[in-house]
């Protein structure tokens, strides 16, 4: 119908598949996010380290050839690329991911709540689960492009340029990259969304995200000291994340705890899943078309 014909007409055309509709939210959110120049520049900066790491891996694998080109270079030997290299990569990118989440996350749900826009989403064939998945997708997809996706690409690069037998020896690194980063992304994204849903002021929600990580460590240490226990570490989400990553990347020399101290790795996993569950519960309580005030 031409726009000049101001008459109402029904719609009988094609419909998109239901499973794909949660992806609509990230598309619109990115469109508005990348209008902010600062965020765009920061996101580009997040790719510097992966590119640098890629160049390093290439040069490291070809040091012998480089040595033959440089007179008097002798017999250069490259570094061994193992779990430590990918652990450091994941830690650096994970920190950048955290900063990015602190900028993006708090503004995702709070505007919908302050504008009472939730009934407009939920009066359509669009569920609360799809809404949370869509909002989570806004952060999770962006963070994936700077964490585990370049991590796996680096892994593939090292496999292709590295010495023979490297893949057989270090194949466990690929799942470690994926699991440690995905756990971290889920944790910070869901926490940012939960804070965004409960604290409607964006700046406060962003500051709270930072505080939660510092406070959880402090609170855990205080409980451990006062109660003379190590069960307080269940609350230390920062330390538990680090612990899981160190175990996954098999980097034992970085571990600053001795055997029998703190909670076990299994308990750290359970604590992380509990934290994820708690964030989901907070979201579930708040994401409703209308709040019922008792």
């Amino acid at each position: 119908m031409a726009v000049y014909k101001r008459t109402y007409k029904g719609y009988e055309g094609a419909q998109t598949p239901e499973w794909s509709r949660f992806l609509i939210l990230p598309r619109y959110a990115w469109e508005s996010l990348f209008k902010q120049r600062f965020l765009l520049i920061f996101y580009v900066i997040c790719f510097f380290y992966p590119i640098g790491a890629g160049i390093f891996l290439y040069i490291n694998a070809n040091l012998g050839m480089l040595a033959s080109l440089i007179e008097g270079a002798g017999n250069l030997k490259g570094l061994e690329i193992d779990g430590k290299f990918f652990y450091i990569f994941s830690s650096v990118q994970g920190s950048l991911a955290f900063i990015l989440t602190a900028f993006i996350g708090p503004g995702l749900i709070s505007p919908d709540l302050s504008n009472s826009a939730l009934p407009l989403y939920f009066c359509r064939p669009f569920s609360r689960t799809e809404y949370v998945a869509g909002k989570l997708g806004v952060v999770a997809f962006l963070l994936s492009f700077i964490t585990w996706i370049p991590g796996l690409l680096l892994f593939l690069l090292q496999w292709s340029v590295g010495p023979e037998g490297w893949f057989a020896k270090y194949s466990w690194i690929a799942p470690a990259i994926f699991l440690s980063n995905v756990m971290w992304i889920l944790l910070i994204s869901l926490l940012a969304l939960a804070l965004s849903a409960w604290v409607r002021w964006k700046v406060v929600a962003g500051a709270l995200l930072l505080l939660v990580f510092f406070l959880s460590t402090g609170l855990a240490a205080a409980i451990n000291a006062v109660m003379r226990t190590d069960k307080g570490s269940w609350l230390d989400i920062t330390s538990n994340s680090g612990r899981i990553s160190l175990e996954l990347f098999r980097v034992r020399e970085f571990m600053d705890y001795s055997e029998g101290q703190g909670i076990s790795i299994e308990e750290a996993w359970v604590a992380q899943f509990c934290a994820l569950g708690f964030c989901l519960w907070l979201l579930w309580k708040k994401i409703r078309a209308y709040e019922v005030i008792k």
């Binding site: 101001r6 008459t7 998109t16 239901e18 508005s32 359509r124 409703r288």
Partner: protein, 311 residues
Amino acid sequence: MTPVIQLENLSVRLGNRDILRGLTGTLSGRTIGLLGPNGAGKSTMINTLLGFYPPVAGTAKILGYDIRTHAKDIRRLVGYMPENDTFIGSMSAVSFVRMMAELSGLPREAALERAHEALFYVGLGEARYRQVGTYSLGMKQLAKLAQAIVHGPKLVVLDEPTNGLDPPARQRMLKLIKEMRDSNHMHIVLCSHLLKDVEDTCEEVMILKQGQMVYSANLEDERKLNRRFLELETYGVQNGFVEAAEALGCECAALAGGRVKMVLGTGVEIRDIYKLAAERDLQLRRLSYRRDTLEDIFLKAMEFKGAPQAK
């Protein structure tokens, strides 16, 4: 024809309060007015029909779909314009309406095309690239209407659509509602406490009071029924006019000043009354239908205490 709304002992409790109590009835009109004083449960009923609140007892069907088991199917067929300010302020109207169309299942291109059409249709064509947050109250209402109809729903639920509008904007909104009604593409549920708006636009009406249905009827039928009640003002000697009318089967009451109240008998038409008057050389100075206005109906319903009254 499938009824638009079928209520089967629908009860809703929010917090510790019973908001809707055993609503039962069937509404099939093209435009249905939902009336009631503030706090009667109109918005709760709408929210329950849309699946926002779970019923504690009973159920309801929208266009044949049960709200307990087919909430998603219902939402596919329904467009909703909420009462409060609900929008995404940082988006332009066209992006906002387009996103809502996409969330309803329209492909990207179709959603964009229909977003433009819907905004032109409601009269926001020239302002469609402005951020919704910068709109006046009247424009926000129109933007809400655009998002409610953009996906071509079979039923549009309008919750207080004329709230806060100035008289010209109110007239414009009512004109749009009438146009949508007359397009025959959709049913409309209009929830309002403004009787005039409902009377002007609706065929069928349901009145709620304290969570109970106190009146439900088809206004058109009601009007037809009321056409049998007449008020006459005569001039001159009546010469047995009243008796002759009674002989035809009418019920009459002669009042002072030549006024007569009359209920036409079966098969008696106004033409017969004119004929009787002409035979007696009696002047009929005024003849009016004494029909109940919606206000009369509403006030009667508000006085009502007891079991629901459905017609």
